[in-house]
């Protein structure tokens, strides 16, 4: 298989009339990587995918595949294969005909096609299913047939448009592992579109977080999760508690934020915003539920938060305490269940503590919708 062909988007703009679907996207995707575009629906991620596959011409900018500019080259001539959200298997063709449709176009003989279909069916663990029709397969099996059909075209880049969204939860989690394994085995570049941060985090080498046509942050899963560049990235990826305030003091990589409710709190400035936050700026501080803990009574200081508990829940692997936050948002604390006993705090005022390295501050900005 190919060593992996990279994809570059350079100053890519896509407009539909007055609506800007993609705004000045610049992305470098390394050959052989599993790269995800993560964002809510309508953020422009599918539009980017259509521009890479060739179904859509960008208004400005370039799409490079393996260093070659693809503008003006149709989808049937690009070294890409697309897996559609609804898979789009051909219902009137048998599974083996579906898989080898690209070979049929190239004029391969029926025997060659059969042989290749059998190889691919073995690879996707569906041996001897070639003579069935897609309607006779289960959702997960159809999913794998769609992957085999795309791989049969021997693309340099495989594009996947939320292909797991139609599956139930168990199967979805299983297919994540399987997709990742297939990607490692064939070694080609995968570009994956999803609104599910779990999918993006578990499978991807790198992730681009998108919001309203803009790429907010590009990085690996850990960077996106631990070191968000924007308020949107912090609130969209995983659960996060937000504290609003103004920068009171900047000390190297840390800042002191004066909040309305909880007084002055200290946090680490995220890498992307080092040196960009100044005293007096509106800022948002984020702390993950699992990074908060209950402090001894009476503790106070710049990494303690007082909170009025509204309700609690036991989730199995964790015990969650919810308390009033700012602007209608709750503060959630997740205490891992390690067999200890949990006190009931509902209606009480408690003090929460965190470590400075687990609180991150970014400029104030739009939050992800719940």
């Amino acid at each position: 298989m190919s060593a992996g062909v990279g994809v570059d988007l350079e100053n890519l703009w896509i407009r539909f009339g007055d609506f800007v679907a993609v705004r000045d996207a610049n992305v470098h995707i390394k050959g052989g990587d599993f790269f995800s575009f993560l964002g809510p629906s309508g953020c422009g991620k599918t539009t980017i995918l259509r521009a890479v596959s060739g179904f859509l011409d960008p208004s400005e900018g370039k799409v490079l595949i393996g260093g070659n500019n693809m503008i003006g080259i149709g989808p049937n001539k690009r070294p890409t294969a697309l897996i559609f959200q609804n898979l789009a298997l051909f219902p009137l063709m048998k599974v083996w005909e579906n898989i080898t449709f690209s070979m049929e176009i190239r004029g391969a003989s029926s025997a060659e096609r059969r042989k290749r279909a059998d190889e691919l069916l073995d690879m996707i663990a569906l041996p001897d299913q070639g003579d069935k029709f897609p309607s006779e397969l289960s959702g997960g099996q159809r999913q794998r047939v769609a992957i085999a059909r795309a791989l049969c075209a021997e693309p340099d880049v495989l594009l996947l448009d939320e292909p797991l969204s139609a599956l139930d939860l168990k199967l979805r989690q299983h297919m994540r592992t399987e997709l990742r394994e297939i990607q490692k085995r064939v070694g080609i570049t995968f570009i994956y579109i999803t609104h599910d941060q779990g999918e993006a985090l578990t499978m991807s080498d790198d992730i681009a977080v998108m919001r309203a046509g803009v790429i907010d942050q590009i990085g690996d899963g850990k960077a996106i999760y631990n070191d968000p560049a924007t308020a949107f990235a912090a609130s969209f990826v995983g659960e996060n508690n937000v504290f609003r305030g103004k920068i009171k003091q900047v000390n190297g990589g840390e800042a002191l934020i004066s909040t309305n409710r909880s007084g002055d709190l200290v946090a680490r400035i995220s890498s992307a915003n080092q040196g960009k936050l100044n005293v007096g700026d509106d800022a948002m501080m984020f702390i993950r539920p699992e990074a908060l803990a209950i402090a001894p009574d009476g503790a106070s200081g710049d990494h303690f938060v007082t909170a009025n508990v509204t309700h609690e829940e036991f989730e199995g692997n964790s015990y969650n305490i919810f308390s009033e936050g700012e602007g209608g948002k709750e503060i959630k604390v997740s205490i891992p269940n390690l067999g200890q006993s949990f006190e009931n705090h509902t209606g009480q005022s408690i003090t929460l503590e965190y470590e400075t390295k687990n609180a991150v501050v970014v400029p104030a900005g739009e939050l992800a919708a719940e």
């Binding site: 060739g54 989808p75 294969a81 697309l82 009137l92 690209s102 176009i105 075209a153």
Partner: protein
């Protein structure tokens, strides 16, 4: 069957159910099956003056069918060449009209079915509104267009394509155009219905896998649209073969449509049994042809209803 009836009455109540069932039975049996059976019965009887009907001469006979094949007894010819030629020419012409309509209507149906937006509704209206006009008036309108001093000839001569008027009517071009136009909606709408439900992603998937446009149609769209295509073709073929107004108005003086022969038997010759026999032969042959073609293209009867 009884289970079905029970459920039907449970759902609709005895009163409404009985009315609905009664009307359906009246429609199918009273208005379709019985008259056709009566025609079938006619076709096997001699043409007798009214007083002799039911008399000793009124016996079943194959005379009327023999007439179509061999002509009048003692007519001096081996076969009824005139009527037989009209018969097969009608069938071939109806088949050609059907194929022509299919080729013309498939792109229109595809365009209607796969495009989005309000202009599609306007387009469909523009197809439908002319059909508010009576079929005979439409045929006469075509006669005006194709006539010797008609619009088409005026334009063609004016632009220097022809020196003298071309006789579109004698050459049956007006007839084929009229028949094609008469049933265009019956070809478009079944196909449009099916193609509209085709997932556009399938077309894009085929394109993404490298297929040129003609192969996308050949392998993805046409197989999917097959029920609509067969439904449209069946209707157009049956109705063209059975058309009367268009051949009467647009046909050339030398070319007869088989339906015109049937009409002559019933009206001019006042020979109902003979006309009935001709009609039965046309109907049975058309059904047999349609079934044979459906078998050839592996279409199920159930698909036609889609």
């Amino acid at each position: 069957m009884t289970g079905f009836l029970k459920e039907f009455f449970n759902r609709n109540g005895i009163g409404v159910g009985a009315i609905m069932l009664g009307l359906v039975l009246f429609w199918t049996i009273g208005l379709i099956v019985l008259p056709q059976l009566s025609m079938l019965d006619f076709s096997f009887r001699p043409n007798l003056p009214p007083p002799e009907i039911g008399g000793p001469k009124d016996v079943y006979t194959l005379e009327n069918y023999k007439y179509l094949v061999f002509g009048p007894e003692g007519g001096g010819q081996d076969y009824n060449a005139v009527d037989l030629r009209v018969f097969y020419r009608t069938l071939i012409a109806a088949a050609l009209v059907t194929i022509f309509n299919l080729i013309l209507c498939y792109p229109i149906s595809y365009y209607l079915g796969q495009s989005e937006g309000n202009h599609i509704r306007i387009f469909a209206l523009m197809l439908i509104i002319p059909y508010w006009i009576n079929e005979i008036l439409r045929a006469f309108a075509l006669r005006i267009i194709f006539g010797e001093t008609g619009v088409l000839n005026t334009v063609l001569i004016g632009s220097g394509v022809f020196d003298q008027p071309f006789d579109f009517i004698r050459n049956d071009i007006a007839l084929y155009a009229g028949l094609g136009y008469a049933y265009i909606l019956l070809m478009i709408f079944p196909m449009y219905n099916v193609i509209e439900s085709l997932d556009r992603n399938q077309i894009e998937a085929a394109r993404d896998l490298g297929a040129p446009w003609w192969r996308i149609h050949w392998r993805v769209v046409i197989p999917y649209a097959k029920p609509g295509i067969s439904s449209g073709c069946t209707m157009v073929f049956m109705l063209s073969a059975g058309a009367l107004a268009a051949p009467q108005i647009l046909g050339g003086p030398s070319s007869l449509w088989f339906t015109q022969l049937i009409y002559q038997q019933f009206n001019d010759n006042n020979d109902w049994p003979q006309g009935a026999a001709y009609a039965v032969v046309l109907l049975v042959t058309c059904i047999a042809l349609v079934l044979a073609v459906m078998r050839l293209f592996k279409v199920n009867m159930g698909d036609i209803g889609k």
